[in-house]
Subunit: 224 residues, 2 copies
């Protein structure tokens, strides 16, 4: 499989040119981001909760600290929507109407289930740790059994998925190009700052390269 | 009113110390962010869509290009959850279990309604433009009547609202502090890049200060 099949629910209808369904695009967005917004419904009320995640092959692991509320309603699978959004910049058009944002987003629909198998759960912890800080798993103090039990991890199959992307400069109405109004793009990248060592860190512990050279993978992804 | 009253639905139950309900905190997060995630339900399926927004007093205006799907289900008010999340950094703890993120988020529950009054709609356009690029409204080519009709704006009262915040360094288990593992915080600020002028921009049009000195208001907000 190299592309997702859009469904009636995932096909991008407004501005269909922005819709993308190929794995390459979808996975590169999921692998660059590390915070998702999980939507679920309780008593007809939608809730949207930010949390960490990782992709492993064609599955998404979602850190369960998201919401005990979600866990309470979990009984073998609850309908969720998981959205990952990367904001790349502000599109400054001459008109307010055509002003926009450059962004890349992925929307995943499906049923998330709680991981109960301890082996898969351990794999999910590793995936999430490595997704957020590649290289960390080899050094970090790993979860104990009681810690594993305290944290829930959900798994969501990547089946009903679409991406939406906007790139490039403003697209103004032809007559507006003559106006003496500045237009262009203001990039808004996430730029890692200088790492702040913990106040109790011994001076003998050096900063690892995966922290001092931290960056998100841009337009790339781990193996399909 | 200086604080929101938490309800059964908005009170932060997991890690209650992170829950904040004062207007100062909530408004500063809403005023610093400019992309929200809107959650709504169609046929039992939640959808989570990223879109632009602005706060004006005790109302949130949501840019309606979000989802025609949402508009189709709008009949005088649909239950939504609007979440704004600012990711401030990665908390690198000695243990995987205590590793975390520094973030500030706001969750708003309520019923969004379509703005039909042209005057309020114009006000909402101005608020959204000014929220994303303060200073822009005075220069931009304003929306025409047909443009206004093509764009929907939703309004959501700020009534059932909570914020959740994590700041500071890692909190490791006492026995883990002796481990020779680097720990601290990796800040992940959004840093505006050099503005990219539109390829058709005449050389005579200078870059305005609100673009060249663009920054989000940090820990501040517009009048309550």
């Amino acid at each position: 499989m190299t592309t997702f099949t859009p469904t009636e629910r995932t096909r991008v209808k407004r501005l269909p040119d922005r819709g993308k369904y190929d794995l390459e695009t979808v996975f590169s967005i999921l692998d660059e981001g590390f915070v998702c917004h999980v939507g679920f419904v309780v008593d007809g009320q939608p809730y949207v909760i930010p949390t960490g995640y990782a992709r492993a092959g064609d599955k998404l692991y979602i850190h369960g600290s998201a919401a005990s509320r979600m866990l309470r309603t979990l009984a073998g699978g609850v309908q969720v929507c998981v959205t990952v959004t990367l904001v790349d910049g502000i599109v400054v058009a001459r008109s307010a109407f055509h002003s926009s944002m450059n962004y890349r987003s992925v929307v995943i629909l499906g049923r998330a289930t709680l991981i109960t198998d301890p082996e898969e759960k351990a794999k999910a912890f590793e995936a999430i740790t490595e997704h957020i800080i590649p290289g960390r798993w080899a050094e970090v103090r790993r979860p104990t059994e009681p810690e594993m039990k305290q944290t829930a991890v959900l798994v969501l199959p990547l089946e009903e998925v679409s991406a939406k992307i906007r790139t490039g400069g403003p697209k103004d109405d032809e007559e507006d190009y003559a106006l003496p109004i500045w237009a262009g793009v203001l990039p808004l990248p996430v730029v890692p700052g200088a790492p702040i060592p913990d106040s109790r860190l011994p001076a003998t512990v050096e900063i690892p390269g995966y922290i001092s050279h931290y960056k998100r993978p841009r337009n790339g992804h781990r193996p399909l």
